[in-house]
Symmetry: C2
Subunit: 234 residues, 2 copies
């Protein structure tokens, strides 16, 4: 069944008007008719099957037939990552991380930042598309650019992937299912000040294998191992 993202979907209403973009897609591209059924997702675990009652290409109306609700899992995979200089690379990360199961992405403004502006609405769209593609019902949370220092102070006791010489533990053995953000450095790595603060705030340096990974590859590696850890421990 065709899926549509409708953030305003709640159990309190059973009749909805879809936004113009979705309405146009339903009537003009998919050529759906009144009575056809679609699935609506609010990205927060609420899923509804709805029947089209008016396939108006500007404002399609639907009636909800049934709701299904999926509680938010207690487990988190929270990645804080610096946007890459090449925007395609961070976008690819966002898509793949969503498919694999990231639950929150914070964008880091690091001392060696390659990019200090991002298109959040575009990133949100990637999340929505990958959520539907991978049949997830919870949209990952996206947090706008935040200084590394502020992030670390707000989220102590995580894991940090950096390239300095250091005693590092394997990410699989260090990961925890809650309150365990994983921070990934930019192409130019974290500054010594950022690393020192992270350690002071209880961050554990981790290794992601022997090869030197690009920022977005390191992020994907971390999401995958965290996902595996959750699959094997819950």
């Amino acid at each position: 069944m065709r899926q549509f993202y409708l953030p305003e979907l709640t159990k309190e209403n059973t009749r909805f008007t879809l936004p113009i973009e979705e309405s146009k897609h339903i009537s003009r591209v998919l050529r759906m008719k009144n009575g056809d059924e679609i699935q609506l997702l609010n990205g927060k675990g609420l899923v509804a099957v709805a029947a089209i009652t008016d396939n108006n290409p500007k404002a399609t109306e639907v009636d909800i037939l049934r709701f299904e609700e999926f509680p938010l899992p207690a487990e988190e995979i929270h990645i804080a990552i610096a946007p890459t200089k090449n925007n395609d690379r961070i976008e690819y990360f966002l898509e793949k991380a969503t498919e694999i199961g990231v639950t929150k992405v914070s964008l880091l403004l690091t001392d060696n930042a390659e990019r200090n502006k991002v298109k959040l609405d575009r990133f949100e769209k990637i999340f929505v598309s990958a959520m539907k593609q991978s049949k997830r019902v919870h949209l990952p949370i996206l947090e706008d650019l935040v200084k590394t220092k502020d992030f670390i102070n707000a989220h102590p006791n995580g894991l940090i992937a950096h390239c300095y010489e250091d005693t590092k533990t394997n990410i699989f053995t260090s990961f925890k299912a809650q309150s365990c953000p994983i921070i990934i450095g930019p192409e130019g790595d974290f500054s010594e000040q950022e690393l020192a603060l992270a350690k002071e705030k209880g961050y554990t340096p981790i290794t992601l294998g022997e090869n030197r990974l690009r920022t977005e590859t390191a992020g994907l590696y971390a999401v995958t191992v965290a996902r595996l850890w959750l699959d094997m421990n819950s």
Copy 2:
């Protein structure tokens, strides 16, 4: 130090002429001079530091100063994957898989093939670039399109990722360091015949988590978990 891929590098010679593309890059883009040092890789574990003796933009000549040799690890990460309809997606997989540590990629011509032609020379270039980027010294082996049936017959007893209802084991618990190819289905999945043959030939169905993954994401997931397994068991 700048790295250059030179497949013909052997320990039997100490003087080499670089191809025109590399030569042009050295003299015109990098503006390197005679006496400057570069690193040469043959992609098979042989690394040389060389000094430029003639920065001719058509045929740069170098003298080898020293060789270093890295034996090929016994561990393998062999992924057989169907090329995606969207070529960018399989190319992205090849780049990331190389960074993370894949040792061999076989391209599968499946019953539900989305693509029955690939540009091998382009794929090779991606391998070379990602090998240098990630500081690997062994180039992954790339195997041209091969029918699923022929691949399975030639490489029995691997792991298979498919989307049919089935008893599946976790990839981490099933992976082995040798002779354990992981085959990844195309967007339309393997055919029932392909799956039946794989099982007959000793393939174990594996799960890559609960979400539905795109072909290239499944491939990346598999490479990452295999890499993690090797890091933790060797």
